[in-house]
């Protein structure tokens, strides 16, 4: 999610960087994507093996294979207890991260995307079943137009370029939020990606774009009011599960996050998954989102495992 944007330089100083991006996208979004999506797989690459003498290369490959097998396994710190089934993340701090480096916010968002890719990969590997990420809130539309345009472009290129990975890793993608506020091309692409990945079952990734928790709940209430209006439901029969069915998270197996992570040190929920967070364990870290990596994720998951969840009752 975007934090407050104060770009390090006035917009005209961003021209060289944005001109670079424009030249990339003029060669086609797909070509642009290959630059934005940094591969992070810890597997042996042909270039590594090719650079070494033959005797050492097989040993190195074996080491890399062993390390990648270890990497695929759960870190020992997390083997003590169950992992959360559904993790929600407020990806905050990308703009501030970029500003601290004297770079425009777009630089932060790209780095943020790389961090997200890593976390999605780890989640799938370690058995998390659902991941909801707050990519763009309904309030973020008030950001500078250049930044918003860049983000819409980034979302499009990521969705297009990652479709192969989603299918290979059996990830189903859904978009939650007011999709009608997005550019037409992004709406169309999002619907295609959602359709094509809906049969995947290993990991549900929900991306909140143009999302507001209060609006989602208001829409759920309106749908219920419609049912009351048409005599399908009496007001006194309305229950919490009626609301649950109307929420945008209703289609996944584990709709309630067990753990919410918010980066960059902000201690608020900020209109994210309002109803669904009733019993969620909250984890706040000062790390900015682009710096949030495997170690930080392990720390958050380990913190979850050390909590006693009582749901209002007594444990003994």
């Amino acid at each position: 999610m975007l934090s407050t944007v104060h770009t390090a330089f006035p917009l005209n100083h961003q021209k060289p960087y944005s001109a670079h991006l424009c030249s990339l996208s003029s060669r086609g979004i797909i070509a642009n994507t290959s630059l934005l999506l940094t591969p992070t797989r810890p597997r042996s690459s042909p270039s590594l093996c090719a650079a070494l003498p033959t005797d050492a290369s097989s040993a190195a490959a074996a080491t890399v294979r062993e390390e990648s097998e270890e990497g695929a396994a759960l870190p020992s710190l997390l083997r003590q207890g169950p992992l959360p089934k559904h993790v929600a993340i407020i990806m905050d701090g990308s703009s501030r991260w970029a500003r601290a480096r004297g770079m425009p916010s777009s630089f932060g968002h790209e780095a943020g995307h790389r961090a997200l890719k890593k976390i999605v990969e780890l989640s799938g590997r370690w058995g998390v079943r659902a991941l909801t990420v707050y990519a763009f809130s309904s309030e973020n539309w008030t950001r500078p137009e250049a930044e918003v345009d860049f983000l819409m472009m980034l979302f499009e290129s990521v969705l297009k370029g990652s479709l192969g990975d989603f299918m290979k890793d059996e990830i189903s993608v859904s978009i939650i939020g007011d999709i009608t506020e997005l550019p037409q091309s992004l709406q169309k692409l999002a619907k295609e990606v959602v359709d094509m990945t809906k049969k995947n079952t290993k990991l549900d990734v929900l991306v909140a774009i143009s999302y507001s928790g209060r609006r989602e709940l208001k829409r759920a209430c309106q749908n219920i009011a419609q049912k009351v209006k048409h005599g399908l439901l009496a007001p006194e029969d309305i229950t919490e599960s009626h609301i649950e069915q109307e929420l945008e998270t209703n289609h996944i197996e584990f709709p309630h996050p067990d753990l919410l992570i918010r980066t960059s040190g902000e201690l608020r929920v900020s209109n994210f998954l309002l109803w669904q967070l009733a019993y969620t364990e909250l984890f706040f870290t000062k790390t900015y989102w682009p710096d949030f990596g495997e170690e930080d994720y392990v720390e958050a998951l380990h913190s979850f495992q050390s909590r006693q969840r009582r749901f209002g009752q007594r444990l003994n």
Partner: protein, 287 residues
């Protein structure tokens, strides 16, 4: 004789403490003081267990801690304090614990209405938020009496959430909204046979409609939510109203939460105040 001699000394000490506290609050007030603080009073039972106290006595200690904390908040200038006293989920606890909590609530509600209580000292208005029909009859009547007798008070507000969960509050709000929408049907929308014309029922609900029918209508959203004992979750407390609030989870158990902890909470809030307010303004525009 000893008691009479002790009393003036105790009073002097208390007055000095009060004076020093007010000086401290004056310094704090150079920064923004939150209008509304919400407390999730967690840790009473663990407190009693750690001190080998009688089972169930933790909640009495917790009540005493609450009165002290209210004193500090209202002296500081906080206008609204909300506390999570008893959740609907808590009904699932052992019947003996639930019963003892109901008894404690009844006793303490009566104490609150006593002439020497904090309610009279500050002219507090008391709210009880929650599904009060789930309470035992005597407790429900005591709560309604407390609300009725303080309804015209113009001082700060104390809101006590009992038999409360936020999800239940929202359901009740939808219920009320649908019922009120039905009442607004003009006579012309009923045909000559006396049947209601379905299209005449305005079923659209706005965010304002919902907020007006929540228990918290007429009360601003909490600026800070403090959950004691270090737990970091909302436990179905004011989910709608706290979505922009500053969340804090200090480690002390509720009876251990002291003036020092409260001041630290306020300072933490003051550090990020401008950022919080900017968030609220953006959210208001968006709604």
């Amino acid at each position: 004789m000893e008691k009479l001699e002790g009393k003036p000394v105790t009073n002097v000490i208390k007055s000095v403490q009060c004076f020093l506290r007010r000086c401290l609050f004056l310094v704090l007030s150079f920064g923004p003081i939150p209008k509304h603080i919400a407390f999730i009073m967690d840790g009473n039972r663990r407190y009693a267990k750690r001190r080998n106290m009688k089972e169930g006595s933790g909640h009495s200690v917790g009540y005493a801690a609450l009165i002290t904390m209210l004193q500090y908040c209202y002296e500081m200038g906080v206008k609204y304090v909300t506390v999570y006293a008893f959740s609907i989920d808590n009904f699932k606890r052992k019947p003996e614990e639930v019963q003892s909590l109901m008894n404690l609530m009844m006793v303490k509600i009566d104490e609150l209405l006593d002439k020497k209580s904090i309610v009279h000292e500050f002219g507090l208005k008391i709210n009880f938020w929650g599904n009060l029909d789930l309470l035992t009859e005597p407790v429900r009547l005591a709560a309604e009496k407390a609300m009725a007798s303080t309804i015209n008070n113009s001082g700060p507000v104390l809101s006590i959430c009992v038999a409360y969960t936020s999800t239940n509050e929202i359901i009740r709000a939808i219920n009320k909204t649908c019922a009120r929408n039905k009442e607004r049907i003009p006579q012309a929308c009923i045909n000559c046979d006396g049947d209601l014309l379905a299209d005449s029922i305005n079923s659209s609900i706005s965010i304002v409609d919902l907020e007006e029918n929540l228990d918290t209508a007429n009360c601003p959203d909490p600026d800070i939510v403090i959950r004691t004992s270090g737990e970091a979750r909302l436990s179905n407390f004011l989910l709608w109203q706290t979505t922009l609030s500053h969340l804090q989870n200090p480690s002390p158990l509720w009876p251990e939460f002291s003036l020092r902890n409260l001041i630290w909470s306020i300072l933490e809030y003051q550090k990020v105040y401008s950022y919080l307010e900017a968030g609220r303004r953006r959210a208001k525009k968006d709604n």
